[in-house]
Amino acid sequence: MLASILSPMVLAFLLGIIASRVKSDLKFPDSLYQSLTIYLLIAIGMKGGYKLSLATFEEVWQPALVAIGLCCTIPLWTYVLMRKVGKFDVPNAAALAAHYGSVSAVTFSAALAFHENLSIPFEGFMPSMLAMMEIPAILIGISLARINTPPTESNPQIPIKEVARELFAGKSSLLLLGFLLIGFSVGKTGWEQVAPLFDLPFKGVLTLFLLEAGLVAGRKLSDLKKGGLFLIGFGIIFPIVHAIIGIYLGSLAGLSLGGATILGVLASSASYIAAPAACRVALPEANPSYYLTSALAITFPFNIMFGLPLYHEIAKLIITQ
C-alpha cells in the first residue's frame, strides 16, 4: 500500500497539488497538456488493441457485457440519487450521472501502472473496456435531462443524435477506438515498431500528466466548499460502491484478480475529458463547479491515492471468497 502511494505518479500528483497551493508559477503550456492527452489516448488504445488481438472471443465477451452493463446503469442510479438525496436540479443531476457513468483514462492508466508495479497480472484487453465505457453513460446522462425537461422556446435542445455524433467523433473516443483498431490490426511487428514511443516511456509520461493534473486539482480544492459536504461524501462513497460492484461482476465474468480490480477502477472513476465538454454544450444549465469539482478535485485524487490500494484489497477479499 505504501509502495503505491510512494509511486512517482502519485507523488507527482501531490507535488502538483502543493505547487498550486503555494501559488507556484509552474504552469504546463496548454499545448503540452494537449500533447500528453493525445499521447496517453493513443498509447492506451494501441497497446490495448494489440493485446486484444492476442485474446480469444471467449475471454472477452463476458467482461465486455459487464462493462457495458455497468456504464449504462451507473448513470441511472446516480441520477436518481442526485435528484432525491442530493436535491440537485435536473441538469446538474444529469451531468453528474454522465460524469460518474463514464470513465477516466488517466485513472485507468494509473491502475495499470499500479498493477504492473506490484507484478499483479491482468487481462491485456482491459483498454477495450475503457473504450467501450466512455460514451454510453454520457449519452444516457444527457438523455435523462432531455426526458425530464420540457423543451422551451428560449432553450433549444441539440438533438441527441447530434450529441452522439459529436461524442464518437470527439478526440478521446476517436483516438481510443481508432488506435484500438490499429493496435489490433498491426500485429507483433507493428506493435514493436511503435512500442519504444508508446510503451516504454508510458509511466514517465503519466507522471508528467499527473503533475499537471495535480496543479489543476489543487486549484479546484478551493471550490470544494461550493460543492458542500454532500458532494465530498458522494465523490468518495459512490466510487467505492461502484468499484465493489465492478470488481464483483468482473470476477463473475471470469476476470483475474487484476482484471476485476481494473474493471472496478473503471466503474469507480469519473470522466473529465469527454464528459465535461459534452455537458457544457448539451447541458449548459448544469453548473461546472459541481461536476468538475467532484470529478477532478474529489474522486480523481481519492482514486489515485487511496482508491487503488483499497480496491486491490477489496478485490482480494471478494475473489478469494
Binding site: 497538456y33 489543476v216 486549484r219 465535461p276 465538454a277 457544457r280 461546472p288
Partner: protein, 98 residues
C-alpha cells in the same frame, strides 16, 4: 458610405465552431479567432481542463453587427461565459467585409 464595426466575442471554446458558422450565416464574410485566457463573472478560464476562452473578431456592417448581437443575446448570453462588444473601424478593400 458604409459603416463597419469590429465585433469581438469572448466566450467558451466549446462554442467557437458553432458560433463561427452562425456568424457566416448571419452575414459575416470572414472572422479571426485565437485562444485567450480570461476572468469574468464565471471565474477564471485559463486551461483546457476547466475550460478555455476563444476570442472571435469579425468586421461587419452595422446592420449585421446588430443582427449577430441579438442572436448571441438570445441563444447564449444567459447560459455561457460570454462577452461581446464592438466599435467602428476604418477598413480598406471593403469587398472583404460585405
Amino acid at each position: 458610405m458604409q459603416n463597419f464595426h469590429l465585433l469581438t466575442i469572448i466566450t467558451e471554446e466549446v462554442l467557437a465552431t458553432t458560433i463561427e458558422k452562425e456568424l457566416v450565416s448571419l452575414g459575416a464574410k470572414g472572422y479571426t479567432w485565437s485562444t485567450v485566457s480570461g476572468k469574468g463573472l464565471e471565474g477564471v478560464r485559463d486551461n483546457q481542463w476547466e475550460g478555455e476562452n476563444t476570442k472571435i473578431e469579425t468586421i461587419v456592417s452595422e446592420e449585421t453587427c446588430k443582427k449577430i448581437l441579438s442572436h448571441l443575446e438570445l441563444k447564449y448570453f444567459n447560459r455561457y461565459a460570454m462577452i461581446a462588444f464592438y466599435h467602428p473601424v476604418q477598413v480598406i478593400r471593403t469587398n472583404h467585409f460585405l
